[in-house]
């Protein structure tokens, strides 16, 4: 699905905000992809392009636009498109995801592999104080031309098409079609070492006392799934 956004960039020299908006509207995120908060594009900006980039965005009508967090860095990966552009997603507008370690690890992996990369658990910029839940992101790199080596992948990088996900919402939406999933106590952890700190999803949160308690359940099974260069453990 995210590859469609990469294709849009491949088919056009420049994708405008309006084109991105219409493209994402056609995907019907809220109905067909629940749990996915938005469909975004973060552009790579070298330090010497920063002033021009900020000026261009301000000329589009975003007079307060800044790259966040502020400060001078060799390059930036600012979120410039994120649809639907609602108040929640507007909080992420201009955010340089490379400044946050977990996001950066997935972005570097996507850039260097040329493939989708799923991040570790993060608190999304879109989260608010109520109903806080773990999030994760999936990144796909956009290159200005097809790279053939690691050095070319780094050199030709234009930005990232990405999706921010709320873990509980997303997994719940998948399992709601499967009544059997309610019969068992399911926890999903990021990585292969389950702990309360890496918990992404719990279908019976009131039952999670300790990881040891989960492990001592009469019938228990642990499955590791891999997707987009990342592992989750189902317990």
């Amino acid at each position: 699905m995210l590859r469609g956004g990469v294709g849009l960039f491949a088919a056009n020299n420049h994708v405008t905000r309006g084109q991105w908006q219409r493209y994402v509207q056609g995907l019907q995120l809220s109905t067909d992809y629940p749990g996915m908060l938005g469909y975004g594009y973060a552009t790579l900006i070298h330090h010497d392009q920063k002033a021009r980039h900020v000026a261009a965005l301000r000329a589009e009508g975003f007079s307060d636009y800044e790259i966040n967090p502020p400060g001078d860095r060799p390059y930036y990966t600012s979120i410039i498109y994120l649809e639907p552009f609602n108040s929640r997603n507007q909080r992420a507008f201009g955010f340089d995801m490379f400044t946050e370690t977990t996001r950066r690890a997935a972005m570097e992996d996507a850039r260097d592999s040329g493939e989708a990369s799923l991040s570790g658990p993060v608190t999304l910029v879109q989260e608010n104080a109520s109903d806080l839940q773990p999030g994760f992101l999936i990144y796909l790199p956009v290159y200005q031309q097809a790279p053939h080596s690691l050095s070319e992948r780094r050199e030709y990088l234009l930005g990232y098409v990405y999706g921010p996900f709320r873990a509980q919402d997303m997994i719940q939406s998948i399992l709601r079609h499967d009544p059997k999933a309610t019969l068992i106590d399911l926890e999903i952890f990021d990585g292969e070492a389950p702990s309360v700190a890496t918990l992404l999803y719990d279908n019976h949160p009131e039952k999670l006392e300790t990881v040891a308690a989960v492990r001592s359940a009469r019938f228990s099974r642990q499955e590791v799934l891999s997707a987009a260069h990342h592992s989750w453990t189902l317990h």
């Binding site: 399992l175 999933a181 399911l186 019938f219 799934l225 997707a227 987009a228």
Partner: protein
């Protein structure tokens, strides 16, 4: 009291029932206490074995069902993650 006393012949009680006949047969069979104990332990052991076997079977079936559900959930999540990319 040993041996067990027979049920008195009284048409209004259990005399003509199958249960009474069985009980009287049992009473005759276990005139000797050692025989009674052997039979008792045999029945107890067989019951325990049967129960354990039944529990084991139930656990095996539950474990298999649990494994199937777990695998289906894993497959569903993995497929969705792939669709998102």
């Amino acid at each position: 009291m040993w041996p067990l006393p027979p049920i008195q012949h009284n048409p209004s009680t259990l005399e003509h029932t199958v249960l009474a006949r069985l009980f009287n047969q049992w009473r005759k069979l276990v005139q000797h206490p050692a025989t009674a104990w052997v039979i008792f332990f045999l029945i107890a052991a067989l019951t325990a074995l049967g129960g354990a076997s039944s529990l084991q079977h139930r656990d095996t079936v539950a474990t298999q069902q649990f494994a199937v559900i777990s695998s289906q959930i894993k497959a569903a999540i993995q497929q969705n993650l792939q669709e998102y990319t």
